[in-house]
């Protein structure tokens, strides 16, 4: 078993301040920096450490036994900013939705909970490794051969994992000596006094020689005068600090009843798949799209049964090589029916574009593609002109473009028209209007063939050189998507009372 134990608030603060003056916000204006960073770190932990069990410990709002014994404990700390607090319920809901065990015990700090859990877990033979995730040094005292300290990556600095040797290297003393060390040196972040006048170097030296605070004071007469005097003056402060710095003050306390008042059971921490019903709406509200994708990747074997990830579409396509075939195709269609079309050209500017091909789709699932060449252009033009004049409802995405291109080549389309891009624009001007985006949004369909795919393996970006087997499905898919969008978009326009505007103002 691999157990990861997390100091909640440490991560929250880190995440919140990571964005500096430009916090991340969702469109409701909520500061989502803390939830974002927190979730990011959770994902990082999951990927790196591959836990089988995990849990998060939170500080309690009420004063702890430490506050009671020393009124100045952590006195210099300011309360968390309001925007940070606003993010907290989201974080705890995220943990819940991810099925991560969380606990907060009145009267205890998160560190104590973590310490209890860590030691209990360490005593179980089936537990191989425990990681304590925190930026704090207080937890370093727990490091042992099974318990490691994990400090998450910060900006460019990668994550640090500290084992016993690591602690010695980083702090200069062994893990079990950390409370003694703090007792001498003091701790600014927790506002613990330590011994006045004893600094890091001295403390390290003393502890290296005498091993512990207690032993040090037993051997006080052996110490040189200047240091001894300071130690004598600061004795009360030293022991008080020691008591507070210790996460588990005495060996008897190791058998202290659980802060949670229930027997310890590591199975509570077991990692299990997320509760998607709770998680997905939360991610949407917070607007965490990329994180959503990463979560899907992590849990790919446990995806929600109805994926909000969209289904793909594949169309049967036929290539019509001669104008006669195209004429035949048009003849099979009822005169007023809707036909979606899509031109494939060499240039984004319609006045400079050359026609390479055109796709038509009159029925869902089926479309045709005509590669247009200059040799038989006169014949093609004839068929197309007939189509252009016919009363078919002509549908396209960004119809204006195709219209201008065709007009350049002597094919002047006549209405009625329906431009799916314009329709989407009227429904909400500020959403992206690309065919791919609209299809995903309105139909839940993900375009299979992308423009870049056309050129894979080719040394050119000249669309005329793209093999027909690639170009045809690509164009056909575009035509079909436009056809499929017609009805839902049309209905949406009706529903929102935009029909009048459409008719009067936009269809030209």
């Amino acid at each position: 078993m691999r157990v990861v134990l997390i100091d909640g608030m440490a991560l929250v603060y880190r995440a919140y301040y990571a964005f500096g003056n430009k916090p991340l916000r969702n469109s409701a204006g909520l500061n989502t920096a803390a939830p974002f960073g927190f979730l990011s770190t959770l994902i990082e932990l999951f990927e790196e450490l591959k836990p089988s069990h995990w849990a998060v410990a939170w500080d309690s709002a009420e004063p702890t036994f430490r506050h009671e014994s020393l009124t100045s404990y952590k006195a210099q700390r300011t309360p968390p900013p309001e925007e940070l607090r606003e993010g907290l319920p989201y974080i705890s809901r995220l943990c819940e939705a991810l099925s991560i065990y969380q606990a907060e015990v009145s009267g205890y700090e998160a560190d104590d909970l973590l310490a209890y859990w860590a030691l209990q877990a360490a005593s179980l033979p089936e537990v191989e490794r425990i990681w304590l995730v925190s930026m704090d040094k207080d937890l370093a005292q727990l490091v042992s051969d099974k318990i490691y300290l994990y400090r998450p990556s910060r900006g460019k600095n990668p994550a640090q994992i500290l084992d016993t040797e690591g602690v010695k290297g980083y702090f200069g003393v062994a893990p079990h000596q950390i409370p003694d060390y703090l007792a001498l040196v003091g701790d600014n972040s927790d506002n613990l006094p330590g011994v006045r006048g004893i600094g890091e170097a001295t403390a390290k030296r003393l502890l290296a020689e005498y091993g512990s605070l207690e032993n040090l004071y037993k051997n006080l007469p052996l110490i040189e005068k200047s240091v001894r005097q300071k130690l004598e003056l600061g004795k009360e402060a030293a022991f008080a600090t020691y008591a507070l710095a210790c996460l588990l003050p005495s060996s008897e306390e190791k058998r202290r009843p659980s802060p949670e008042n229930k027997p310890f059971s590591v199975s509570l921490f077991k990692v299990s798949p997320p509760n998607w019903d709770k998680l997905l709406p939360l991610l949407d509200e917070l607007e965490f799209r990329k994180l959503k994708e990463r979560l899907f990747a992590l849990w790919k074997d446990f995806l929600p049964s109805k994926p909000s990830v969209t289904s793909s579409l594949s169309t049967t396509y036929h290539i019509l090589y001669t104008p006669d075939e195209l004429r035949g195709y048009f003849q099979t269609l009822p005169p007023n029916s809707a036909i979606a079309f899509d031109t494939e050209t060499t240039d984004l500017h319609p006045m400079y574009a050359e026609l390479v091909g055109i796709a038509f789709c009159a029925k869902e699932g089926e479309a045709v593609f005509c590669p247009l060449s200059s040799e038989r252009w006169a014949e093609w033009q004839g068929v197309l002109q007939q189509w252009a004049k016919a009363p078919f409802l002509k549908i396209a995405h960004n119809l204006k473009y195709d219209w201008v291109v065709l007009a350049q080549f002597g094919v002047v389309c006549q209405g009625p028209f329906f431009d799916t891009l314009l329709a989407d624009y009227l429904l909400d001007p500020e959403k992206p209007h690309g065919l791919e985006d609209v299809a995903k949004r309105e139909l839940g369909i993900q375009k299979l063939h992308s423009y870049q795919e056309l050129f894979v393996g080719l040394k050119t970006r000249d669309i005329r050189k793209v093999p027909l087997e690639r170009l045809a499905p690509y164009a056909c898919q575009d035509a079909e998507l436009a056809l499929r969008l017609y009805i839902p978009l049309h209905q949406a326009l009706e529903k929102h009372g935009l029909k009048k505007l459409w008719r009067l103002g936009e269809s030209k």
Partner: protein, 395 residues
């Protein structure tokens, strides 16, 4: 419109190009003389070196990369300190004009048609307005002398044909008056008064040290500012000239005393958007503004400005679009060349100017009647090119 394109006088543009090139060289020489150094005027780094190190001018601001700022804002603050600064500003203006506009236009001329074909994007602006690209013909400068010369390049393409421009005068203010129902503003428009002069009269008492044109200019800024949801701070920025924020605020307050319905319209509109989440134009075009309920003050203020401005700008956009369609149907042989903001540009045969102008005016005025009987006015101008146009009055 796109496929027709608009004709530009290429020879004229080429001449202009050479002219600008010469001017730029002159300016460059002058700059070198004034600074005593031959440096590259286009390099911000070298420029900063000369201005701040060599000449010892005070640094206004720093760019994100830590360099002292040499943009227009920074430079205009230094204008009085050294003649070099003025030279630089003019250089920059000409440079932009030349490369972005003159060169840009020359390059956009289509080889086959000999005309400039711009692409109008119908689905980009959130307010419903059209945007123009490659080239962007909607921001050809009109205010500066040099900018005006550019407009001269746009000409009619056939013998005996001229350009006709029709502009909706103060359409946004009229829409604001109509939507708010403000009796004073409506009365001003109905009586055919110049709205800015009218506003000026009420903003400044009879006793005022300012000239008439000054007063009008300020009133105009306030008028347009209100539509965009301006604050006292914004007004100070736009007017400059030592106006204090309290004075600006006083102007705004006086404005609302004269046009109280506008104030209540603004409040109602913001409330409306808060409730339903979007702003609507007269024809029902929507724009969703979710940030109106944001807890972030800055975002919320921005959203409120959008809430006020979108229906106004959007209705103007609606109106022009309807007019364009109606005129397309009614005058199929008269090519519409361009749409720029509230103006439409056609090419018309000279012999038929009057009758065509009448039709255009009629259709534009009737395209989208405004509530509260606010009259819509269309100003028609005719000319050989886009710069030299004379107003056409129709009896």
């Amino acid at each position: 419109m796109e496929i027709r394109g608009v004709k530009v006088d290429v020879r004229y543009l080429k001449e202009l190009n050479l002219l600008y090139e010469a001017k730029l060289r002159d300016l460059e020489e002058e700059a070198h003389k004034l600074s005593g150094e031959s440096f590259n005027l286009n390099s911000p780094k070298q420029l900063a070196e000369v201005l701040f190190n060599k000449l010892g001018l005070p640094v206004q601001r720093k760019t994100p990369t830590g360099q002292p700022a040499t943009d227009e804002e920074a430079l205009s603050a230094l204008v009085d300190q050294h003649p070099l600064v003025e030279v630089l500003l003019r250089y920059r203006e000409l440079y932009k004009l030349r490369y972005t506009y003159v060169e840009g236009l020359l390059q956009s001329v289509h080889p086959r048609t000999g005309r400039v074909h711009t692409t109008f994007h119908q689905a980009v602006a959130a307010t419903g307005r059209l945007s123009s690209q490659s080239p962007n013909l909607q921001n050809i400068p009109i205010r500066t002398e040099e900018g005006k010369r550019l407009r001269k390049a746009f000409v009619a393409s056939r013998e005996g044909w001229v350009l006709l421009s029709a502009d909706y005068s103060q359409i946004e203010l009229r829409i604001a008056a109509a939507l708010s129902g403000d009796p004073h503003m409506i009365a001003d428009f109905q009586a055919g008064r110049d709205i800015h002069t009218s506003t000026a009269q009420y903003l400044f008492g009879p006793v005022s040290p300012l000239s008439e044109s000054e007063k009008r200019r300020i009133a105009k800024t306030v008028n347009f500012g209100i539509i965009y949801g301006i604050t006292a701070h914004g007004l100070v920025q736009r007017l400059g000239g030592g106006l204090s924020r309290t004075e600006a605020q006083k102007l705004i307050d006086t404005y609302f005393m004269r046009y109280p319905a506008i104030k209540s319209y603004i409040e109602r509109q913001i409330e409306q958007v808060r409730k339903c989440g979007y702003a609507e134009t007269l024809l029902g075009r929507r724009r969703y503004i979710p940030q109106i309920n944001s807890s972030n003050k800055v975002q919320r203020a921005e959203a409120e400005r959008l809430a006020i401005n979108t229906p106004i700008q959007g209705t103007a956009a609606d109106m022009i679009k309807v007019a364009m369609i109606r005129l397309h149907k009614r005058l199929p042989d008269i090519p519409l060349l361009l749409q720029i903001h509230d103006e439409l540009l056609w090419e018309v045969p000279e012999s038929e100017i009057e009758s065509i102008a009448r039709i255009i005016q009629e259709e534009m005025v009737e395209a989208l009647p405004l509530p509260n009987q606010v009259p819509i006015e269309v100003e028609i101008k005719v000319g050989e090119n886009w710069l030299e146009m004379a107003p056409l009055s129709l009896s």
